[in-house]
């Protein structure tokens, strides 16, 4: 494996560890699991809305 790939992987792994640490320290509920869940509230805070108002709809 070339050296640049090793360096790249080390930096990527360090960034992932850093992100996980930041999420754990900040108490954020964010993470891949949130994206895989069908229902979440996550970091985007919003109030309850009628179900018909949630989701993309064209504005024109």
């Amino acid at each position: 494996m070339p050296r640049w790939v090793k360096v790249f992987l080390i930096i990527a792994a360090a960034l992932v560890v850093l992100m996980v640490a930041v999420m754990l320290v900040s108490g954020s509920q964010h993470g891949p699991g949130r994206h895989l869940s069908s229902v979440w509230t996550g970091s985007i805070r919003y109030v309850a809305l009628p179900s018909s108002s949630v989701g993309w709809r064209p504005l024109w």
């Binding site: 070339p2 919003y46 809305l49 108002s53 949630v54 504005l59």
Partner: protein, 175 residues
């Protein structure tokens, strides 16, 4: 399977346009996300979230899908291959990751935009912004773009085996 030169140029043009467009659109999304985060004006936050939803679904997602598909076509249809070179493999993994996170994240953006359209002022101000996703996405896309430009050397094990097999196979000489 190697594409003909004309087809390869067309695919390369498409790949460049969609990839760079993806980066630009992500930058526009980030600007809206920052505006929604830092502004305390309700109309600004409403407009920013609606813009983020429109830019996301109508520009970023299509460009991301096209950039991914044209990238795969370019890899398979040229000597680079999809998993022969480390830079192609890493670019493929990063692009796939960015695309999956993007598509999984967009419904939450739509939910935020729905609040921006119909929620009361207090709910709109509680939305905050969306900075981490576009910022990290931009970093990933720029890394992929740099890999595409510099094409650093390095064959994967699969690439080395293919290279060795090609060297060992008998070649037909002229005549």
């Amino acid at each position: 399977m190697v594409m003909a030169a004309g087809l390869r140029r067309a695919a390369l043009a498409m790949h460049l346009i969609t990839s760079v467009g993806w980066i630009g659109a992500a930058g526009a999304y980030l600007a809206a996300g920052v505006a929604a985060r830092v502004s305390d004006r309700v109309p600004t936050v409403r407009a920013a979230w609606i813009a983020m939803e429109l830019i996301g679904w109508l520009v970023i997602v299509p460009l991301g899908c096209l950039a991914f598909l044209t990238g795969v076509v370019m890899s398979v249809g040229t000597r680079w291959g999809l998993i022969r070179h480390y830079w192609v493999l890493i670019a493929l993994v990063l692009t796939s990751l960015a695309l999956v996170v993007l598509i999984l994240h967009m419904p939450s953006v739509s939910a935020g935009a729905a609040v921006a359209r119909t929620g009361d002022d207090r709910a709109v101000l509680q939305l905050g912004g969306d900075i981490a996703h576009p910022a990290l996405g931009l970093v990933v896309l720029v890394v992929v773009a740099v890999l595409n430009l510099y094409k650093p050397r390095g064959l994967t094990r699969y690439g080395q085996r293919q290279h060795a097999a090609a060297e060992a196979s008998p070649r037909l000489g002229p005549g």
